[in-house]
């Protein structure tokens, strides 16, 4: 819209006609207080805090509903306005309990801040305040009416933002309350967005309430460890006797692609970190066949001896390595490098939930055709085929809804079963049960059993399009879908898989036939000199490795942060090989191991992760759990124990080295010293540590053309997109070893089972949501 010029407090401001005065002012650095206004949500004009004086208008006007037009003149600061705001605060406080000293929001409460800034010094109110008992609506959400200022942010966030509409306002006047949809209980997605936007302490979270005061926390910006969407999350961390404890997760600073969004998993599912069932000591199976705690040295030596023995006697192909979907890129990279160059095996894989290899293959040579989440968030048109983002990719669903709602993006959905996002769709194509394989042909204009031609016509009329496809698309089918769009201009793609770093696992070469960057192991190119002695025949995919375990053919299996015994193999079978497990819990798999090495979770280490959209972000160490180590360090130490010169594994030292960010040291007494001793014993400079994942990051960037990361951006906490289109055109399409995870809102693979919050929420929401979430 055309720009107009208005005058605010004597300053000339230019803004598009029709823009809201409050936004125009705020952009110009003119502060307008507001309770009910929340950018992106519908207007309320309810709190009356944003009042301003407009020339020639008799009454004060609300800046949050005033649209600017040419020549308007406003005053935002005058004794009259100050008095109006002061009175509004006074009125609010008339029924407010002022229990700030015990209120969760104390210290970060908008009412406190406003009272401080605009409020009255003393209270005129002498009458009794209205009281109502606090209510627990769900394990996650509590409501305290006396603190509620009825700004309706929660209702709008839940309704307009989440499309859940679980909150309402009931009664009227001073008896008005916010009410949940289930009468006295809340039946919803439990995302906690309502708690997050509440400007005061009226909505509080089950996990955080009465735990701490905000100023006692440190805030660490990192990446959510659950689904593959890559929400940035700010963890509130408090020192604990044992280290550092996470007590809250949110993204109030709106940094990152997710803005203030987090789903229940990101917001509440961090408590696995403190689960008492965490492995806290290295374990080795003793002569009686029982796992017993041992020193790190002993455990590493036991593992190293066995690995060395199997490799040297039966060859690397008798060793298998299973990597993780939620370890960092640097760890994944290191793990496969260790497997290939130290263990001399290509038997390396991970639990694949999407066919990223086929995706990379299909896009090979076509730069600019992969869609980052930011591309999706601003795309004018989107085709969603397969999957159910509302349950499995909450952030994606949020971005799609927001894009439709705010930017009027056109969403097209083609799915075999109905999904909730169809409520936002401009058009829906209901596919027959076997419809996905036909889709590319249908889109290409061929006649198939799909009859609805208008859907295709509408799509083809779009000038630019992002196609997002679910894990139903793999191998040749995926290839065909991407080929359809590659032939047309302005079509981008996104492939959605599960788990925080499954994309990174694939990108980093945790695959039996592909090296980092999807380079074929048979034509390793530069890798042959980087990984001297690596085998060039494709290794065994995960299923085959497990089959060899069962048949007793695998001499040793190293499992890092994966739990195949959960659903891929009968746990007892695992006893048929020498099993080394790095994990944070004594999972079904770890329980069968010969050596268990206690690992740090993603919230306890630093490194990068790649979302399913190829967006790379920096995960930062927030919590600190004694006696566990990051997988990166464990691998380096394991290699060290096998007698490897760790310099060949991690290019630390020299110009590429940055620094040891201290993340390799635990917090327990003496650890720093031991760390120094270990370094000294190997004549390494403490600051130039082999445990520094950033040294490996340099190598990743050197060897994987897609990973050209903008470091400044990355270290500033932003996402940095990557392009599988840069991969060399490898000949292979992956053998289909993909099993979609279908985690729901309250499940997160093995990890989710160790989060008490998520287990509670799942129980609270069952059966209405639990079945869909759990299947």
């Amino acid at each position: 819209m055309a720009d107009v010029t208005i005058t605010v407090d004597g300053k000339k401001l230019t803004a598009p006609a029709g823009a809201l005065l409050i936004d125009v002012c705020r952009k110009a650095g003119i502060e307008i207080p507001a309770f009910c206004y929340y950018p992106g949500l519908s207007l309320q004009a309810a709190c009356r805090m944003c009042v301003v004086r407009q020339e020639k208008v008799p009454k004060l006007q609300t800046a949050c509903t005033t649209q600017v037009a040419e020549g308007q003149v406003f005053i935002t600061d005058s004794p009259e306005i100050t008095q109006a705001r002061k009175a509004t605060i006074e009125l609010l406080l008339g029924n407010h309990p002022l229990d700030c000293p015990v209120c969760d929001a104390g210290g970060e409460c908008e009412l406190q801040d406003m009272t401080f800034k605009y409020g009255a010094g003393e209270s005129r109110m002498v009458d009794v305040k209205r009281h109502r008992d606090e209510q627990q609506w769900s394990p996650a959400v509590y409501y305290d009416r006396p603190r509620c200022i009825l700004c309706y942010r929660c209702i709008r966030m839940c309704g307009e933002g989440m499309d859940v509409w679980a909150l309402g306002v009931q009664n009227r006047g001073a008896s008005a309350v916010i009410a949940p949809n289930g009468g006295d209980r809340l039946d919803c997605e439990q995302c906690g967005m309502c708690i997050d936007v509440c400007p005061v302490g009226a909505l509080t979270s089950g996990s955080y309430r009465y735990k701490t005061r905000p100023w006692e926390m440190n805030h660490v910006a990192t990446v959510c460890t659950h689904c593959a969407d890559g929400c940035k999350v700010t963890l509130g961390v408090r020192q604990s006797p044992e280290g550092a404890e996470i007590i809250r997760a949110d993204n109030r600073d709106k940094s990152g692609i997710n803005g203030d969004f987090l789903c229940a998993k990101g917001r509440f599912g961090f408590d696995f970190v403190q689960n008492p069932q965490r492995v806290s000591r290295p374990l080795v199976r003793n002569a009686q066949g029982v796992l017993e705690p041992v020193s790190w040295e002993r455990a590493l030596r036991t593992a190293a001896m066995k690995l060395t023995e199997v490799r040297d006697t039966r060859g690397g192909s008798a060793i298998g390595v299973i990597g993780s979907n939620s370890t960092t890129n640097e760890e994944n990279y290191l793990l496969q490098k260790f497997a290939r160059s130290v263990l001399r095996t290509n038997n390396i894989d991970h639990e694949r939930t999407a066919d990223y290899a086929a995706f990379a293959h299909a896009l090979a040579g076509h730069a600019g055709r992969a869609a980052s989440l930011r591309d999706i968030a601003s795309a004018p048109a989107i085709l969603l085929v397969g999957g159910d983002p509302t349950k499995e990719h909450p952030l994606l669903a949020w971005e799609l809804r927001t894009n439709v709602r705010i930017n009027r993006a056109r969403l097209y959905v083609a799915n075999t079963t109905p999904i909730k996002l169809e409520r936002q769709a401009k058009a829906v194509l209901r596919l027959p049960a076997d419809g996905y394989p036909l889709l590319a042909a249908y889109l290409g204009g061929q006649s198939t059993s799909i009859r609805d031609i208008s859907f295709r016509d509408a799509l083809l009329a779009e000038e630019s399009l992002v196609v997002i496809f679910g894990p139903e698309f793999r191998g040749a089918q995926l290839d065909a879908l991407v080929k359809w769009g590659i032939e047309r201009p302005h079509i981008r793609y996104a492939c959605i898989g599960a788990y925080a770093n499954s994309r990174g696992a694939a990108d980093m070469g945790l695959l039996p036939h592909l090296l980092p960057g999807y380079v074929s192991v048979s034509q390793p190119g530069a890798f042959s000199s980087e990984y001297p002695g690596m085998p060039t025949a494709p290794g065994k995919p995960l299923q085959e490795m497990l089959a060899s375990v069962s048949s007793g053919d695998l001499g040793a299996l190293l499992v890092v942060g994966a739990n195949p015994a959960a659903n891929q193999i009968n746990p007892a079978e695992l006893r048929k090989t020498f099993l080394i497990v790095q994990d944070i819990f004594l999972t079904e798999t770890a329980a069968m191991a010969d050596v268990v090495l206690p690992a740090a979770s993603l919230y306890e280490k630093t490194g990068t992760v790649t979302s399913t959209y190829g967006d790379v972000q920096l995960a930062r160490k927030a919590a600190d759990i004694p006696r566990s180590k990051p997988d990166f360090e464990i691998i380096v130490r394991l290699a060290g124990a096998m007698g490897v010169d760790v310099k060949t594994l991690v290019p630390f030292g020299g110009s590429a080295v940055t620094a040891d960010l201290g993340q390799s040291r635990g917090a327990q007494a003496g650890e720093a010293d031991r760390h120094a001793v270990w370094l000294a014993a190997r004549s390494l400079e403490p600051k130039l540590s082999p445990f520094d994942p950033f040294a490996t990051m340099d190598e990743i960037e050197r060897l994987i053309p897609a990973y050209k990361l903008d470091r400044l951006n990355l270290f500033g906490g932003n996402d940095s997109p990557t392009e599988p289109g840069f991969v060399p055109l490898s000949q292979l399409i992956a053998p289909d070893g993909v099993t979609p995870a279908h985690d729901g809102l309250f499940t997160s693979g093995t990890l989710g089972r160790y989060s008490t919050s998520l287990v509670d929420l799942l129980r609270h929401q069952s059966p209405s949501m639990a079945e869909t979430a759990a299947d």
Partner: protein, 436 residues
């Protein structure tokens, strides 16, 4: 059955068919009914609006907005259907005039609605009655059904090719729903919370379509304006205040009732002549001139006061809904103020802070104050609160609560002070309110 009253000074225009069985459609026709609608059908929209503008008819709902002008704001062309909305929510304490119209002359409301529809090019009108008026709703429903049966409503009204339909609607107890945009919300099946303005109803109203909303008395007056001609109607009233008005005189008078008097008629005469003076020969203490939300006037302020929108406005109050509430000298103003504010506290929709919290706080303070537990500071606080609600709320209900409160405190400060120092109320027995 509400008692009908009359007085020689009355000019019976709107009430002329009262008590004559006009709820029966044939009787209504016999008394000249539906002729105005037919005439309007012939004359067309521009003519109607012009007559209405000439008539100086101003809205009887309270604000006194010129009706012809309001109708002229509706865009001629509209993508969405246009609607006529008749506001029969009548809930302002002191007001019961629409009650009589629905009871005695329901067809005048229907006829007025048809004319409004013709004026703005609408095919559908709604008549919204407060939920308590169930027996009146039944009368209206019967009248509407009769009008359909006669072909006055429907696809081809009066045999023309013009369509007009009417739907009647019941509220369920909410004063705030009388506010025009809140009424639209209610009619759409929502909470009676007002809407952000602009856009105004004439542009974006019911179901998002351009909508004219008028008070039931305004609408019932329309056929008479057409019958008399705008000019003749205007001549009955005072400058810029056309015609007559139904004044509901209640409280401490000898002959309370609804009287139809020309605009500009003197308030003192209303009380002392028309309504027979203060009951039991007592002295007049104060009068609320236009429903509970209008600031109270003192006897000396009404001597020469003509009851029209402009004159009452100049006197520092408002003509409002025409509900004249007369208060004698045995009445406690603090209790009266308390009863008034507790009404607004009960009816505040709660949407905005100043009204929701302000009415609640005022009610609490006044309750305590009236019970004899007040302090001198309270009087200032009450005034401070009311002053700080005024003009700051989302809809006029906040003002409707603040204005009378300010009037009471400013004009009767002495009486407030008499309640101080543990002194009980010099008049009242009732200190508790159960309505919460």
């Amino acid at each position: 059955m509400p008692r009908l009253v009359s007085h020689p000074d009355e000019v019976k225009i709107v009430t002329k068919r009262f008590g004559q069985g006009a709820a029966n459609i044939d009787r209504y026709i016999e008394l000249g009914g539906y002729e105005s609608a037919k005439k309007c059908l012939e004359q067309g929209a521009d003519w109607i609006i012009n007559e209405m503008k000439t008539s100086n008819l101003r809205g009887r709902g309270g604000a006194g907005f010129p009706t012809g002008m309001k109708w002229s704001f509706v865009p001629k062309q509209s993508q969405k259907p246009k609607y006529v909305l008749v506001n029969g929510d009548e809930s302002e304490p002191g007001t019961c005039k629409d009650h009589l119209i629905f009871l005695h002359d329901p067809h005048s409301v229907i006829e007025g609605t048809i004319i409004a529809g013709l004026a703005i090019g609408s095919k559908l009108g709604f008549i919204y009655l407060r939920g308590e008026y169930r027996y009146l709703l039944e009368i209206m429903e019967k009248a509407v059904a009769d009008a359909y049966a006669k072909g006055f409503l429907g696809k081809n009204i009066f045999g023309s090719d013009t369509e007009f339909q009417i739907i009647t609607q019941s509220g369920a107890g909410a004063y705030e729903v009388g506010e025009e945009s809140a009424l639209m919300e209610s009619l759409e099946g929502k909470r009676g919370v007002p809407r952000i303005k602009p856009p105004f109803p004439a542009v974006v109203g019911l179901y998002g379509g351009p909508t004219v909303i008028n008070n039931a008395e305004t609408i019932a007056t329309v056929p008479h304006v057409i019958a008399m001609g705008g000019e003749a109607y205007a001549a009955v009233g005072s400058p810029r205040n056309g015609g007559t008005r139904l004044f509901g005189v209640s409280g401490h008078v000898e002959r309370p009732g609804v009287y139809e008097l020309p605009m500009g008629y003197n308030l003192k005469k209303i009380i002392f002549d028309v309504a027979g003076g203060v009951r039991g020969g007592r002295k007049l203490k104060a009068v609320v001139p236009g429903g509970s939300s209008t600031p109270v006037l003192l006897p000396e302020e009404i001597e020469t006061l003509g009851m029209d929108f402009d004159q009452v406005g100049k006197a520092g109050s408002m003509l409002g809904s025409g509900g004249v509430v007369v208060i004698d000298d045995q009445t406690c103003i603090v209790e009266f103020a308390l009863r008034t504010i507790s009404f607004y506290q009960h009816e505040s929709c709660g949407w905005c802070i100043p009204c929701r919290e302000g009415t609640d706080w005022l009610k609490k303070s006044l309750t305590r104050f009236h019970a004899g537990f007040g302090s001198a500071k309270d009087i200032d606080n009450i005034q401070y609160l009311a002053e700080n609600m005024l003009g700051r709320t989302f809809c006029p209900l906040g003002d409707a609560a603040a204005m009378p409160t300010l009037g009471f405190v400013k004009k009767f400060r002495k009486e407030f002070e008499d309640h101080l120092n543990g002194k009980p109320c010099p008049f009242a027995k009732h200190v508790e309110l159960s309505v919460v």
